[in-house]
């Protein structure tokens, strides 16, 4: 797309519409009803179908705009939640534009924020981070001349479940998905998603498993279906997403600590050939013999087998014996898939 086309200041442009909606709402002290908003915002007014009674399309558009504003942190509040939906008066919550005290950034910090915002290789997260950065820049500080050049940490998310899960965590929505264990067994899981955690480049979902009634960790790459948000019928017409109480920091910390102690308790030892790729991978330079042993801990035996498959010709498993078995069965699967 050419630069010129990037900006289309037409009234139908979504940014213009949302901006006008925001301005109209900010002007109004006592709030505006939906009907009033439909007359106050040019693009809505143009859509008002004089004849049709329900303005179905326009209502939908308004609902979408409301949720877009909410997603962008512009909180709509309505002072009297008991009122009839058509009589509800919308305003923008006063805290939307009020930063807490002490939120100031110096130039050095803004530079770190810049680097942090560039971390995402995934487009939608990168846009979220960059929009946040635009707001922080709007607060007014100039970043320092960068001494962080020459360094580009990137987080990659290969899994389609990443975005729906992060949104479900953000909004505390119960979800379900199909999970295929390393042995190929697939089961439907129902969980309260708590956190996404990256460990050595692998993404894990830490969650409360509603069937097991326990904290569980799921590897995102083994989620083999769409992530479905749980929906409940409220009455004949309407349904709503089912939410749960956000986990406490203590619960999260305990889940992470569990995972770490689980990893620490699983140890593998390999005998590695000198000057092989595995030798380099494990940094065994200070060894002088033709082979040497390396010992380390691991989170998941199948993940470890996957990592080691690249170096299969360079080492022999000393322990645990299951590791050699898992590696073997993975290679059998490869051989038969390419027979």
């Amino acid at each position: 797309m050419a630069k010129e086309e990037a900006w289309k200041p037409a009234k139908t442009d979504k940014s213009e519409r949302l901006f006008q909606l925001t301005c109209v709402l900010l002007y109004s002290e006592r709030g505006l009803t939906k009907r009033e908003l439909f007359y106050a915002v040019d693009s809505y007014r143009a859509d008002l179908a004089g004849s049709s009674e329900d303005d179905f399309a326009l209502n939908k558009k308004f609902e979408r705009d409301k949720s877009e504003l909410r997603e962008m942190g512009i909180q709509l509040s309505n002072p009297d939640p008991r009122s009839d939906p058509d009589e509800m008066r919308y305003t923008i919550a006063s805290e939307t534009f009020a930063w807490p005290d002490g939120i100031e950034f110096d130039a050095q910090q803004l530079q770190l924020l810049n680097l942090a915002a560039q971390v995402w290789a995934q487009a939608s997260l990168s846009s979220e981070a960059n929009r946040g950065l635009v707001r922080l820049r709007g607060l007014g500080i100039e970043p320092a001349a960068s001494d962080l050049i020459g360094f580009a940490p990137r987080l990659r998310t290969h899994e389609p479940s990443f975005i729906p899960l992060s949104q479900a965590i953000d909004e505390c929505i119960e979800v379900s998905f199909d999970y295929r264990k390393a042995d190929g067994e697939t089961t439907r899981r129902h969980v309260n998603p708590w956190m996404l955690r990256s460990i050595d480049g692998q993404w894990l979902l830490i969650c409360w498993d509603k069937d097991q009634k326990a904290v569980r960790n799921f590897l995102l790459k083994r989620i083999v279906s769409k992530v479905v948000y749980r929906v409940e019928q409220i009455n004949e017409k309407d349904s709503a997403q089912v939410t749960f109480a956000a986990p406490s920091e203590t619960e999260i910390e305990a889940a992470i600590a569990d995972l770490e102690s689980h990893t620490a308790s699983q140890v593998a030892t390999l005998r590695v050939k000198r000057d092989s790729l595995a030798w380099f991978h494990f940094h065994m330079d200070d060894q002088t013999s033709a082979t040497a042993e390396v010992t380390f801990s691991y989170m998941d035996i199948d993940l470890l087998a996957e990592e080691l498959s690249e170096y299969a010709l360079d080492f022999k498993v000393v322990s645990p014996p299951e590791l050699a078995k898992v590696i073997r069965s993975r290679f059998e699967a490869v051989a038969s898939a390419h027979a």
């Binding site: 846009s127 979220e128 956190m195 990256s198 005998r271 299969a312």
Partner: protein, 329 residues
């Protein structure tokens, strides 16, 4: 400068709000300053300013103009927002914006290079307070390990010096190299050096774990290397010897596709299986790359690529049963 090519409706809306908040705290700002500050082209900023002037709001049957940018001053390159009735600050961060930035900061703090950085922790707290979400983070990153050599390379990059090292290339040959280092990439726990290679006369990608004996030479990088500019994140460099390989992957191996340059848009062929055509530089390496996924990735064609993968698997099966230490010498 900026990548406004990707600016969509949300980005524009977001920028308008930030712009009003910024201008509200200043009498006058030059267009150049604004452009530098937001890292956006002047042309784009002028259009945004014009649409602020065009913005109207129907209030109680009257039309209000909430913002006024002085047009005469704007022609002289000066921006002054004289009326701003309704917005006097930038909106707080949305929870998604805060989550994406916090996770980025969390990632930085997980890198040994930044581990002791007190700024990062205080920033994470401020960002969380700045969004009003509070509570636990949505995304977190476990601390990783640093690649030996990365700090020497970074020093060389900051000093703009050429380095020499021993390098195991993708054909597993040990070579002595001189590289003009430009950037260190850390992706999925793996450290890479992006550097100008005088031999190949182009930017190449080096696995830092395959580098040994890194030395900073007493020589500045060449003008060609110095003028490389922004380096793309994608590491693929096309060579005429590359082979197009068709693969099918299930979710467990989706990663394979994103790690290679694909020839056309990958196709979903049902039950979660994706078919893609990837470009492979050194075909003999394909065995290692595919076998890693233990049957979740399958080579469809060409036949010689399938053979390479099968043979690698068979060799691994043979070797893993009777590993003979005498063979090593």
């Amino acid at each position: 400068m900026p990548k406004i090519k990707g600016f969509n409706g949300e980005d524009r809306y977001n920028f308008l709000l930030a712009l009003v908040g910024y201008l509200g705290h200043r009498d006058q700002v030059s267009l150049d300053e604004l452009s530098n500050h937001f890292d956006l082209e002047i042309e784009y900023i002028v259009k945004a300013l014009r649409s602020l002037n065009d913005a109207t709001a129907q209030v109680g049957g009257f039309e209000e103009w909430p913002f006024y940018i002085d047009i005469d001053l704007l022609e002289d390159g000066i921006v002054s927002l004289t009326t701003a009735d309704i917005i006097d600050d930038v909106p707080r961060l949305s929870t998604r914006q805060a989550a994406a930035i916090s996770a980025g900061l969390g990632y930085l703090s997980s890198i040994p290079e930044f581990a002791g950085n007190a700024d990062i922790q205080s920033l994470i707290e401020k960002i969380s307070a700045g969004s009003g979400r509070g509570g636990a983070e949505v995304i977190s990153i476990a601390p990783g390990s640093i690649e030996a050599g990365a700090s020497t390379l970074r020093e060389a990059i900051l000093k703009k010096r050429v380095i020499s090292c021993e390098y195991i290339n993708r054909k597993q040959e040990k070579t002595k190299r001189e590289i003009e280092p430009l950037r260190i990439d850390l992706t999925g726990g793996v450290w890479y050096l992006r550097g100008y290679c005088p031999t190949n006369q182009g930017v190449r990608n080096f696995l830092i774990e395959h580098m040994r004996g890194i030395e900073i030479l007493d020589r500045e990088i060449s003008d060609v290397a110095g003028n490389v500019g922004e380096i793309e994140d994608a590491t693929y460099v096309a060579e005429i010897t590359d082979t197009a390989v068709i693969v099918e992957v299930t979710p467990e191996a989706y990663r394979l596709i994103t790690e290679f340059q694909t020839v056309s848009e990958p196709k979903d062929i049902g039950s979660g299986t994706i078919r893609a055509e990837i470009m492979v530089g050194h075909l003999p390496n394909l065995g290692r790359l595919i076998a890693k996924y233990g049957g979740s990735a399958r080579v469809i064609s060409p036949p010689e690529a399938r053979d390479i993968v099968r043979n690698y698997a068979l060799k691994a099966l043979g070797e893993s049963t009777d590993f003979d230490e005498r063979e090593i010498e």
